[in-house]
Symmetry: C2
């Protein structure tokens, strides 16, 4: 009985799910989003998609929150290195630890993926799940962005939050598919984005089950980036998405995989970082969040490209309070 | 607005979520289930669990459907071998293919895990996701169980379906955590158990993203059994469950991991196959679904052990129609 009542209520509420994209200026992107959602949720429309197949995937860094001057999880990692340094006197002379301790970001970046991996291993491994969650939550509640001087979770994109809710109100299941680590994202992202932990897919370290605990080991198990984003989606969701949202060439494969959905009409949207005043302007030549090949493809394939500067009334939620 | 309305309705409906365990006889198991759910969903109870943390995990083979005389996915695999045999004349003399083609089950079993892996690789790999889904769906709709002579999906356990719905009506998220492969389970299990594909965790083959498709490769990537069930839960759900349901020693680690939840009251339940008339009676000495160590531990730790013969009014849904 409860289940029947519930289904009826769900149908009713979906029928009335209007849009609330208040922070989006009227423009091509907003029009494309509303036109897509309206057509695929209308049972009389030829493009109708059943609720069970309304799967939408979102990149995180640069798509749902900022990623400059560096991926935020690297700030977390560097702060952890500084905290752990007293137990590791050898780090004073060993790269990339030396650069971290001297707060020499360029030196850290110069160590490349290999150096970054060393930092992640040294800080994420050798402890239980629950202990690591506590560390992340302590940090996310206290640490502040180096130039904006606000908590990192204040640097999420207000228009994207509204988009997430608009999709959910219309029966879509929303997932994060990020190159960032699940261990760093899940403790806070569930609440901040309204996304349960099992809808957050990301990079993974090796873990083992030992003494009734999940324990981390210093080895990367899965790097959820580029051509591995569709792989992560396959393993985790088990269905080809119908809508994909990203901001860089690292999201291209996920968006292309979505576009190639043979069954349903799809939506692909790139957040284009064009606003050097409220956020940071970057694309083809950026090391972090490079958008080059994807930008050309998007233009040639009628993907939606959001011009942040022109199309977003506000970037961050705190601007609403001003 | 819709979201607020929806939350209110959710609260209302949860308050009224009575039990409908119609196929369970009054007995210890039913009492334990209801007592647990009642206490953890009552906001005034010291054992109250917020909805977001009501995570329940279910084994599949032997817990949600039968697994005798052999795991059902092995019948699927053997039928595929027979279909593919004309393209592989070498199988006539090569084990374990030879035994499959001669329908010599004992010969197949003698080849052990190594032989079974060969069969799975030969039948699951080298094709796209969508093509494999179609094969599974064709089979599940047409193939019949060798002794029961009904479709395999008719051999799901009616009392467990009622339990799944009872938990969902009370705000639990239910997941399958099975040693079976996700590729075999997901196409049909979503509908049969009312479980979205992203709530089904299982063993995985290697895949790659190629030409806009997910393509399978003949290598096992993850064997979701024993100590790796908590690992699968960690990666996929990202939260320690509060309730776990299994039937064999292969589920023990998952249930122990759940029991060790430091934050919440938990429930562990073993389906004990005691009914040799309606189903099959087996436990400590069975090759498939061995329940030995787990049975002793369950008794010593006050886990719920369901005596199928005594506690289930019916085993399969088709018995209701009689």
């Amino acid at each position: 009985m409860t289940r029947i009542l519930f289904s009826l209520l769900l149908m009713l509420s979906l029928t009335h799910a209007g849009e609330n994209l208040a922070s989006w200026n009227d423009g091509t992107s907003k029009k494309n989003i509303i036109s897509y959602v309206t057509s695929v949720t209308d049972p009389k429309n030829k493009d109708f998609i059943p609720v069970a197949d309304r799967i939408a995937v979102f990149d995180n860094d640069g798509t749902l929150w900022s990623e400059k001057p560096m991926y935020f999880f690297l700030y977390f990692t560097m702060d952890r290195i500084i905290d752990l340094a007293p137990q590791h006197p050898e780090w004073k002379t060993e790269e990339p630890f030396k650069s971290v301790l001297q707060k020499d970001i360029k030196g850290v970046m110069k160590s490349g993926m290999e150096g970054l991996t060393k930092l992640i291993m040294a800080t994420h491994a050798g402890m239980t799940d629950e202990a690591f969650d506590d560390l992340v939550m302590d940090w996310i509640k206290t640490a502040k962005h180096p130039t904006k001087n606000v908590h990192y979770t204040e640097l999420i994109f207000q228009p994207m939050l509204e988009l997430l809710n608009y999709l959910r109100d219309n029966g879509f299941k929303t997932f994060i598919v990020s190159g960032g680590g699940i261990d760093f994202m899940r403790p806070w992202a569930s609440e901040v984005y309204g996304m349960p932990s099992y809808q957050i897919i990301g990079s993974k370290l090796e873990v083992k089950y030992e003494n009734k605990q999940i324990v981390r080991y210093p080895k990367l198990r899965f790097n959820d980036d580029k051509e591995d984003k569709p792989v992560g989606i396959h393993y985790h969701i088990g269905k080809r998405p119908v809508a994909a949202f990203g901001n860089s060439d690292g999201d291209f494969a996920m968006m292309e995989y979505t576009e190639a959905n043979a069954k349903y009409k799809t939506l692909q949207l790139y957040v284009h970082h064009t606003d050097d005043k409220r956020e940071v302007a970057y694309d083809r030549k950026s090391h972090v969040g490079k958008l080059d090949k994807g930008l050309d493809y998007a233009k040639a394939h009628d993907w939606t490209v959001v011009d942040m500067k022109k199309e977003w009334k506000v970037v961050y939620p705190f601007e609403l309070k001003k």
